[in-house]
Amino acid sequence: MEPRVDLKEMMKEKARAVQSIVAEIGSLEEALRYAIDLTRSQGGTHLAAPGLDKRDPAAWSLFRSLCKESGISLVKENLRAVIGKLHTGFTVADYAIAETATLVQDSSSEDLRIATMLSEIHVAILPASRIVFDAMSLDSELKGYMTSPPSYVAFISGASRTADIERVLTIGVHGPQELHILILNEDRA
């Protein structure tokens, strides 16, 4: 059995255990449509995808036209100005840790942070090849960020949660109320 398959399954299982919503997708376009549909169905108007234009210009222009069709405002920068309107933060995870269903994101960009902290929901694409077993396996990658400061690296393992009132688990206290992880199977893309 190929270990990568295992990691993906583990990631999915552990993610569900912490109330993350996981789906497998075959193409980036599928992810874009997923984010748009979700935003619309929840009555959102603003979708933020900071950094996507630089990461993947083709995807960005496709996203723009899809959003336009759907009447959704797509923003990529100066997110402080739209705090309060943001419904969906759309990002691409740099890595993921299967053992704890953790997304690892270089969040040195403030806009990326705002998109993942102050949106109502967070949709993240996770390329399947980026899943590792545990945090230790990312030691050199993480050190890479830390030795080229400034850097702000986020481990995100689910939606924001608290149990501070009578230990009742409640999702969505300060950060996003939902985390959607879209595992991108590149080999099929």
Partner: protein
């Protein structure tokens, strides 16, 4: 405002009040039960013991070099645009932070949860200086609004009910809040605090890690408030203790592997944030965050050099020592610590918040070892608590009469045993036919009446030994019995039971007559010197080379002999070999029967008597014997029925039960209720101290009493009669 009683009398008043708080009792009990399961699940498939050893070793390796690690951290962080400060005292930390706020022209401050800021009472200082400070962790916000301190290091508002929170939020928002709509109340915090983040000029957080090699800090949170506090305001100040320094990322990741699992039973907390340098911030100077990191000493650097207490700096603030503490479970964190809560709280209070605040609370420890058994960094918490107690007593100069008397008596075995014999005569008018004290001696007040005390035996074990101990021709083993005070002077019949079994299995037991008290009572009272002298006496009395095993029927003696003698006698020239041999030969009754003799069920009448078991603290955690007594009951033809919380302390704790009778009584009550729920006919345990407590409590219950026995007695009773 946190006020911690400075004397035991006032403290006991508070404890009594807390014991009447039904909500607290139920909540913390449910929590303790749920925690056990979720922790076990979280660590499934992980070599926890190995991990604990690695973390402890890594921590111990860096603790002597905190200043060097700090120097490296400072260089790296400053290169990345951070200003690094050192605060020698709590007041200095507060001053540094208010000066930063002043220089930055900040007015509004948002805070992430930080125990270090609680330690320095930072909020009170900043508010006095005119800053508006808002806690953003939900639990911290709640207690800030109520002007309280946290009652748990991880769940600061665990002492409050949904009703209390709803009343508070109704007042804060001016709108009715439904206590049963917890989600709705959480959303109140989401709305209210969102504004605070957006308006704040400065964010203050703690940090779980300071990574020296890169100058990074790591923050572990669930709510996401830590991310907002470090992102939205233009200034970020992190306040952390020197003890948070780790050499490298690997060390931090290793701790991260245990911290959330041990704290809340989560595989990982929802958000872990690694910040290196002054990051992008649209509202900051030149589009960068103004970032400061304040390292707090407040005694830590001297603590790092202390040969006994340095290990307290291993603590990663997971809060687990409170979660499993049977006393915390009854009285809550506001009565079990000052700022820091739980076992580590009792210790740190002395160092960070002073003698007066530690004086009363430090006595409130059963030495049940529950905390030690879950500490993810392997801190010997009960030992450190007793060491703090000793330090407190010594610095007060005048010792309690009890300490003086006990030390005087224990240092002279003949005097001690003379006094015990005299006790038999003195108690005569008070004792009943059933060898229980039917009247309490005058010096014990009514609150001690929750259990009947046993009478001292007419003839101690040592006096009848030669008559009851059969001489065997060719024994399989020669075994020294370490009696301990209770077996020798109160319950010699428990040793007689052992002799019936040993004869049957061809084992020669000896009772070296110069043995004395094991010394644990002295340690419990902080009398280390006395404990050491007694240890030396016993080591002289029982030459390990002369016996195959040193057997004890008392779990407390056993674990003290095995664990503490090494600590007490460390450095004694010429004794280390004997001590090691002694330690290696100490064995408890059940392990001896089950593992050494491998007793056969054919020797026992299989009468399937329904038996409940109480697992003594010093057996299951002290000696880590768990399987053997349970198997032995089955071998001996008994029907063992598990009870809830079998391994939770019965509340005896030696002199503890005299100091805090209310706590002892409540623990005993819960224990007996759990035993009764099993429907067992007999309750057995492996420790005469527990027998004393449980039998005494059962006697007071009146109706439906369950017989309480030492496991040796019941097993011996089930021996098949030999053919005549």
């Amino acid at each position: 405002m946190i006020t911690t009683p400075h004397d035991v009398k006032e403290y006991r008043g508070r404890l009594k009040k807390a014991l009447k708080n039904e909500f607290l009792g139920t909540t913390l009990d449910n929590f303790a039960t749920a925690y056990r399961t979720s922790r076990a699940n979280a660590f499934e498939g992980i070599d926890l013991e190995g991990l604990i050893q690695q973390i402890a070793a890594a921590k111990d390796a860096s603790i002597p070099y905190l200043e060097e690690l700090f120097a490296l951290f400072k260089t790296q962080a400053e290169k990345a645009g951070v200003t690094v400060h050192v605060a020698r005292t709590a007041a200095e930390a507060n001053e540094i932070i208010s000066s930063i706020a002043k220089a930055a022209g900040a007015r509004r401050i948002v805070k992430g949860k930080s125990m270090t800021a609680e330690e320095t009472f930072l909020n009170a200082h900043l508010e006095k200086e005119g800053y508006q400070v808002t806690e953003t962790d939900l639990g911290e916000w709640i207690i800030q609004l109520r002007h309280e301190g946290p009652s748990h290091m991880v769940m600061p508002a665990i002492h409050l009910s949904r009703r209390q929170v709803a009343e508070l939020f109704t007042r804060v928002t001016g709108q009715y809040q439904d206590p049963d709509d917890i989600n709705g109340m959480v959303k109140v915090a989401r709305r209210e605090l969102r504004q605070a983040y957006l308006q704040a000029d400065m964010g203050i957080t703690g940090a779980n890690f300071a990574i020296a090699e890169t100058g990074s800090i790591g923050l572990v949170t669930n709510e996401g408030n830590g991310r907002l506090v470090t992102t939205l305001p233009r200034v970020h100040v992190a306040l952390l203790g020197f003890d948070k320094l780790v050499p490298d990322l690997k060390s931090a990741l290793r701790i991260l592997k245990v911290l959330p699992r041990n704290a809340t039973g989560q595989a990982i907390s929802t958000y872990v944030t690694w910040i290196t340098g002054a990051n992008e911030c649209a509202t900051g100077p030149h589009g960068r965050k103004e970032m400061h990191i304040v390292f707090l000493d407040n005694g830590r650097l001297s603590l790092a050099r202390d040969p006994v207490f340095a290990q307290a700096l291993r603590c990663v603030r997971c809060g687990a020592c409170a979660n499993v503490c049977p006393i915390y479970k009854l009285v809550g964190g506001h009565n079990y610590g000052h700022v820091y809560i739980g076992a580590i709280g009792l210790i740190l209070t002395y160092f960070f918040h002073g003698h007066d605040n530690a004086r009363a609370i430090i006595k409130n420890c059963l030495n049940c070892q529950a905390c030690k058994s879950v500490c993810p960094t392997g801190i010997d918490l009960p030992h450190l608590i007793k060491e703090v107690y000793r330090t407190v007593l010594e610095s007060e100069g005048k010792k309690p009469v009890r300490n003086v008397l006990l030390s005087r008596a224990l240092k002279d075995r003949r005097l001690f045993h003379f006094l015990l014999r005299r006790a038999y005569l003195a108690q005569k008018p008070l004792a009943g036919e059933d060898r229980l004290m039917r009247h309490l001696p005058m010096f014990l007040a009514r609150e001690h009446a929750f259990r009947t005390l046993p009478a001292v035996a007419k003839r101690p074990l040592r006096d009848i030994w030669e008559h009851i101990n059969p001489r065997l021709q060719k024994p399989r083993y020669r075994v020294a019995l370490f009696g301990g005070c209770l077996i020798d002077f109160v319950y010699p019949e428990q040793a007689e039971a052992l002799l019936r079994l040993s004869e049957e299995h061809n084992v020669q037991i000896e009772y070296p007559m110069d043995q004395s008290c094991c010394g644990l009572p002295a340690k419990m009272l902080g009398e280390r010197e006395t404990a050491k002298e007694v240890a030396l006496q016993n080591l002289k009395a029982i030459d390990p080379a002369a016996y195959d095993y040193i057997l004890t029927l008392c779990a407390s003696c056993g674990s003290h002999l095995r664990e503490n003698y090494a600590k007490l006698l460390a450095g004694e020239v010429g004794l280390q070999v004997k001590m090691q041999q002694f330690k290696d030969k100490v064995i408890d009754f059940s392990s001896f029967m089950q593992n050494v003799l491998q007793v056969n069920s054919e020797r026992f009448a299989q009468n399937y008597k329904k038996v409940a078991y109480h697992s003594p603290c010093h057996l299951c955690r002290g000696l880590q014997v768990i399987r053997e007594p349970r198997e032995l009951m089955q071998t001996a033809g008994l029907d063992y029925v598990p009870a809830r919380d079998e391994d939770v302390c019965c509340g005896f704790g030696g002199s503890f039960s005299l100091d805090f009778p209310e706590i002892s009584a409540e623990l005993l009550k819960r224990k007996l209720d759990n035993v009764e729920a099993t429907g067992a006919e007999v309750l057995v345990t492996d420790c005469p101290g527990c027998v004393l407590q449980l039998r005494g409590g059962m006697d007071k219950k009146g109706t439906g009493k369950i017989e309480v026995k030492h496991i040796a007695e019941l097993v011996a009773d089930n021996l098949k009669k030999r053919k005549a």
